[in-house]
């Protein structure tokens, strides 16, 4: 059996990869994906722990999180579409009229 640590490391890697994606990608949609990755990293931890404790609630949480993430993505995509309508771009580093 694979020890829980492995899952945890994987989840941490997923989280960091997601965060890095958020930091370095210019395209808003890919940034969104990075965020999804981060959430899924956390989900993986939940599942791993739930499995370790032999309890169901971790799994349930993951379902809830997935729902929440879906809602977020829906909003996010809508905002990106509006962004494209308003500015004709989805590059988030060009969105910098509000500053200083």
């Amino acid at each position: 059996m694979i020890p829980v640590t492995y899952y945890l490391v994987l989840s941490a890697v997923l989280f960091l990869v997601g965060a890095t994606g958020v930091l370095i990608r210019r395209n808003a949609i890919i940034v969104l994906m990075g965020i999804e990755l981060m959430l899924n990293g956390a989900n993986l931890s939940f599942v791993a722990f739930a499995r370790q404790f032999g309890m169901a609630d971790g799994h349930i949480y993951v379902f809830l999180v997935i729902t929440v993430a879906a809602a977020e993505v829906a909003i996010g995509l809508a905002l990106v579409i509006l962004l494209f309508r308003n500015r004709g771009t989805v590059n988030i580093d060009e969105v910098r009229s509000l500053r200083w």
Binding site: A19, V22, L23, I24, V31, I92, D93, V95, R96, S97, L98, R99, W100
Partner: protein, 641 residues
Amino acid sequence: MTESFSYIWLIPFLPLLGAFINVFFNRNPRVSGMIACATVALSFLLALGVFFQLIGLPDGERSVDVVVYSWITSGTFAVDVAFLVDPLSTVMMLVVTGVGLLIHVYSIGYMGKDACCVRYFSYLNLFMFAMLILVMGNNFLLMFVGWEGVGLCSYLLIGFWCERRSAANAGMKAFVVNRIGDFAFILGLLLIFLYAGSLTYADVFAADPAVLAPVITAVTLLLFIGAMGKSAQVPLHVWLPDAMEGPTPVSALIHAATMVTAGVYMVARCHVLFAQSATAMTVVAVVGAVTAIFAAYIALTQYDIKRVLAYSTVSQLGYMFLACGVGYFTAGIFHLVTHAFFKALLFMGAGSVIHALEHALEKGKDPQDLRNMGGLRDLMPVTYKSMLLATLAIAGIAPFAGFFSKDLILLGAFVNAPVLWLVGLATGAMTAFYMFRLLFMTFGGETRLSRDETEKVRESSRVMTIPLVLLAVLSTVGGFIGIPHVFASGMDRFGGFLAPVFSGLPEAQVPSASVELALMVLALLVAAAGIWGAYTVYVRGNRVFDRLVPRALYTLSLEKFYVDEIYDTFIVGPVRKIARACWRILDAAIIDGGLTLAALTVRSMGNAIRYTQTGVVQNYALIMVIGALVVFAYITGYLGP
């Protein structure tokens, strides 16, 4: 006891009332003079009443405190508004109200036509009030009230013609120089209070000498500095000559007869204290002698008639301090009285001349310049004669008033400090010289006026000449109140009257009668020499001194030893510079600038942080991640709590 003098508060109060009425209720210039004179006359009468009541008392009881009300009470500090009636204050009251009355009357003639004469008489009355408070108060603080009050009136009256810049400046100079003296005076008072626990004369003077012993020299010297300011002693004399910017009766009243003698009065009043400090006595005597000769020397060459008299006043005040310094307080006060007579007269005579010439001289010619006068003897006979008497008196010619008082002073100096006696003697010669120079240049010789001008010169009106005559009489016979023992034993009524006041002093040494007589003769000879010198130069026109005296000495006298210039360079200028530096450098640049700098620093920090706010969302995320890493690292122990 107190009840019998309970009316005494009226003496100072009446002139105040006069001032009050004139300020608030009177718009009529003619009436203003009358009100002023009437109130002063009443005061004078009351003072006479006090005098007679006082001689009615036995010697030992001739010192009465009259409390009017409690003025300032704060814990242990308690000062009353209370008056002291004793021979000394009575003499001063009489001089102040008496001479004051004459000058008030004279002023009606002199100032009656001035547009602001209501104001003038209010000031004059106010001055009388302050001066009377000064001499009548029974404690140091009340004296100080009068002290400052006369200073104020002097300021206002010097600056009476304030539209003249010089008058305004002179007034301010007088006040400020006086303030320097007052500063010391206040410190003296504080020191007295700190050690004696009271400011009332009775308490302080009756206190155990040991109480004040540690600070007695400091106290007396501080008080004396105050006196130097008020009585224009070197080096604080500079304000008095400038004070001649005021109307001439003011010069007569304030800057000759009364206010400037306040210092002498104060020293005499505090003789108990001064007598305890040999150092202070020496200082008083030396300053007095130096001032006497110094001012006399300057007076030799001045051309402004009032300035000559002003320096003469300074010099005579020096005499008085000399007397006090050698322990002859009675002599000092005696000279104060006689000086009040003849110096007031001299000023009023000069005023009479100026008044006449003002109307006569062409525009642009200075009516006070001796070089514009001459030969007025016949044109203004009354003025001339009375001034002649006064000049004789001041020169110390027997039997005029000045002779007796000055003689007593010189006697005291001879006994206690022969060097100072020599100085006094020399001063006597100079006094005779410059006074007769003044007389000759004004009245003697040929007139330097044009024909037109001569025709316009008139003798002054009665209201002005009568006071002159009265004072001339006093200058002539005033000395007889204090005839020395040498001539007639027991005839020194003045000394006898004041004796209870100065009874505490050690018996003065008296030289033998022959020595005393020799001294008198010597003094007379010296005075005569001075008169002869003046006669030679100014009547005979012999330019003998031009050859004898080096030019530099003459210039030094003419330029008044450059004292004003020295003060300007070394005191006034630097203070002004320091003030500006304080403002511009310390205040504006360093303190305020420092604050501005601090504010700027904060602002620039703000701007620095502000511009990290780039607007790029990924930068924000980066900041968050860095923050999160730091937080994570810290809290999990990698940054070590």
